[in-house]
Amino acid sequence: MTVKEIVKEHGNKRENLLQILHDIQNQNPDNYICEKAICELSKEMNIPVSGIKGTASFYTMFSFTPRGKYIIRVCESPPCHILGAQTIFEAIELKLGIEVGETTDDGLFTLEGTSCLGVCGVAPAMMINEEVYGNLDKEKISKILSLIQNKERK
């Protein structure tokens, strides 16, 4: 969908900005909101670019730089932390060779830290795109990532 169509679907009132930004980001193959889209959005919604960027950059789910196809968001809040979130980060860093904030060379994964995902019952937890994974340990991480890698390589 074009920016224009997305705006049309939600209505061009400012109240709908977050929803529209979600949609714009989701349909971008690199999982981010590009400068061009922001400019178009500015015209469609009659909101200055500075206002759109100011809003979008406030929220951790939006990005202005290209990201991987899969965004791994590992929870680093206290409940996950005491049950081993750090080892989860390490396992992912080891497996994918990227640090927090980075994207793998094949463009598949971006690793991010996040605040509580609200699934602390299965801490430590992470989300890969919209899917939640809980009760994680090193082995599970490795399996989950391999599964995605295999699927993508096919």
Partner: protein, 596 residues
């Protein structure tokens, strides 16, 4: 309705909706502030102004907390002082400690508070990343490292100017104030009005400093350096030397400029008078084409063009108005073009050897003099622009004891001017000056208003309008007999936008419109001494009207030097020479589009 409250054991009676801050001010108690900006914003976010209110658990921000009956307030207890100290320590923890080399040394609100609160140690380590300096535009320089995120600039750029260039970006500790597009101002649409620089409490936004370049020119024996001063300077420069807002210091300023080593001290007022002749004629010509020739292509209303901040805004936001904007250059640029041609030949100098320095209330003028169109004399028409604030520093650098200077007169002929030129400095002034001349051209009579002042377009109301019925026209102008001339005035770009939208929607229609980018007009320009509040704007305006009223000549067409330049050089308004030297063109710069 008023309420009784107690501040520091003193009883006060204040109106119901007063803030604690204002109530305290009333009895001479100063409460420190950083994010608060009179007339404009009080986000209550810097927390410097917190006070103890009996019964409240937390400390209360006095800039936003309204008084209530019986309130018992303490503004300087240990609790309050400790809290303010910690806030300052936190702000300073990531602040570059560069006061000595900072534009705001000695005029910085943060520095001053650190002094007042005796901050002799900062217990917190610096953790912020160093960010690059933004020197990308001719007028404004930003040092994000010094920013304390008070958001005064954001408020001004968004709410007053409606340009929406600056906005907060990211969040929490990583929050910065950044231009909408890209990281540098030049990548975004910024009209260079400098209003942000005028309100910044610290050295995070300032005008680009050109003092050294001017020193260099003055020190160069091969250069003939002339200076022009805009009308708005004479009512504000005194503030740089702790005089009251509105102190008139034209004579001292002239002496100071001469002692600084300028070869000639001239006046932008001269070309302000010239602007009136050219622009007035342009208006009458347009009216004639529309009314007599029934020319449908004539663009009316006509807009003034002397404010480069407005011109920049128009080119980016309303390029469809380009045909409506007077083709006259601003007085500063007319001056440059005339100085390097007419005056150069008068004193037998090569234009290359003349350096024109402008003293302007304005940062947009720094931008304007660098526009590609602005070299009609064959070289750059205006070489350097200094703001009022820079001139203040310049004079101090030269060791001139400004306050005790004698008064001197400006040089002829480019220093000769009228009261009509003075009032260019404030909102409504250009309109009034234009009508003083146009009305007299058309009717042969003086503008029929008390003191030649058009009361409805004076003052600080955002959008003002007036109607003038033309009666008793001379033969040549008979077609205007009985016509009611509708004019409007807006200052501050947010107000300009409102006015333009009301015209576009068909709700309003006018013949002539004056727009100045800065609130209050040039007297409230982005390069004027800090801080500018509405009260200070009004004081400066009053001073300007006083200056006008004290003049021998109060109408541009009465200026003998203007008569002379037409006789000797320009021949006639809108003539070939005028067209070449005094008029300009505009460019459609409608944005936004991706910059990278």
């Amino acid at each position: 309705m008023s309420v009784n409250i107690i501040i520091n054991n003193m009883e006060v009676n204040v109106p119901r909706d007063t803030t604690i801050l204002d109530a305290a001010k009333k009895i001479g108690i100063k409460i420190p502030t950083l994010c608060y900006l009179a007339d404009l914003q009080n986000p209550g976010s810097c927390r410097m102004c917190i006070v103890e209110v009996e019964g409240a658990k937390a400390l209360q921000p006095s800039c936003v907390t309204k008084v209530s009956e019986g309130m018992n307030i303490r503004t300087n207890t240990k609790k309050v002082r400790d809290a303010r100290k910690i806030i300052l320590e936190l702000l300073l923890s990531d602040h570059p400690w560069e006061c000595n080399t900072c534009d705001r040394n000695q005029s910085c609100e943060l520095q001053k508070l650190a002094d007042e609160y005796g901050i002799n140690e900062v217990r917190f380590q610096s953790v912020r990343e160093r960010m690059p300096l933004d020197e990308s535009t001719p007028g404004i320089i930003r040092d994000p490292n010094k920013c304390i995120l008070c958001r005064r600039c954001v408020s001004v750029c968004q709410d007053v100017q409606g340009v929406d260039t600056l906005a907060p970006r990211a969040r929490g500790f990583d929050t910065i104030i950044a231009p909408g597009q890209g990281d540098m101002l030049s990548e975004a649409v910024c009209v260079q009005c400098g209003q942000c620089a005028a309100v910044c409490p610290v050295g995070a936004i300032s005008e680009k400093d050109d003092i050294d370049k001017v020193w260099e020119a003055i020190d160069d024996p091969n250069k003939f350096v002339v200076v022009q001063t805009a009308p708005a300077i004479r009512a504000a420069l005194g503030e740089c030397f702790d005089l009251k807002p509105g102190a008139l210091i034209k004579g001292k300023m002239t002496t100071a400029l001469r002692r600084l080593g300028f070869d000639k001290v001239f006046d932008t007022n001269f070309t302000a008078d010239l602007t009136i002749i050219e622009e007035g004629t342009e208006l009458l010509t347009r009216l004639k084409k529309a009314l007599v020739d029934k020319d449908k292509n004539v663009a009316l209303p006509m807009f003034t063009s002397c404010s480069p901040g407005w011109v920049n805004y128009m080119e980016s936001f309303y390029p469809e108005l380009i045909p409506n904007v007077s083709t006259c250059k601003s007085p500063q640029q007319m001056f440059g073009a005339v100085a390097k041609t007419y005056y150069a030949s008068k004193v037998d100098k090569k234009k290359e050897d003349i350096i024109v320095v402008s003293i302007m209330p304005c940062t947009a003028k720094k931008f304007e003099c660098n526009r590609d169109e602005m070299n009609d004399s064959g070289v750059k028409d205006v070489d350097y622009v200094l703001t009022t604030r820079e001139l203040g520093k310049f004079i101090k650098q030269a060791g001139i004891d400004f306050i005790n200077l004698p008064d001197e007169e400006m040089d002829a002929p480019l220093g000769t001017s009228t009261g009509a030129a003075d009032i260019f400095a404030n909102t409504g002034g250009v309109m009034e000056a234009a009508l003083r001349t146009a009305y007299e051209i058309v009717t042969g009579k003086e503008l029929p208003f008390k003191g030649l002042h058009i009361a409805p377009i004076e003052g600080l109301k955002g959008v003002k309008e007036a109607s003038l019925k033309i009666e008793g026209t001379t033969k040549e102008w008979r077609f205007l007999e009985g016509v009611t001339l509708d004019v409007a005035v807006a200052h501050g770009l947010g107000n300009a936008k409102k006015l333009i939208e009301s015209i576009k929607s068909g709700e309003k229609s006018y013949h002539f419109i004056e727009i100045m980018a800065c609130p209050g007009g040039c007297i409230g320009g982005g390069g004027q001494p800090r801080m500018t509040t509405d009260a200070i704007r009004q004081a400066r305006i009053n001073a300007i009207y006083k200056e006008d009223e004290g003049r021998k000549f109060r109408k541009s067409h009465d200026n003998p030097a203007i008569k002379e330049i037409y006789e000797e050089f320009l021949i006639k308004p809108l003539g070939e020479k005028s067209h070449h030297l005094l008029h300009t063109t505009y460019t459609n710069k409608k944005e936004p589009s991706p910059k990278k």
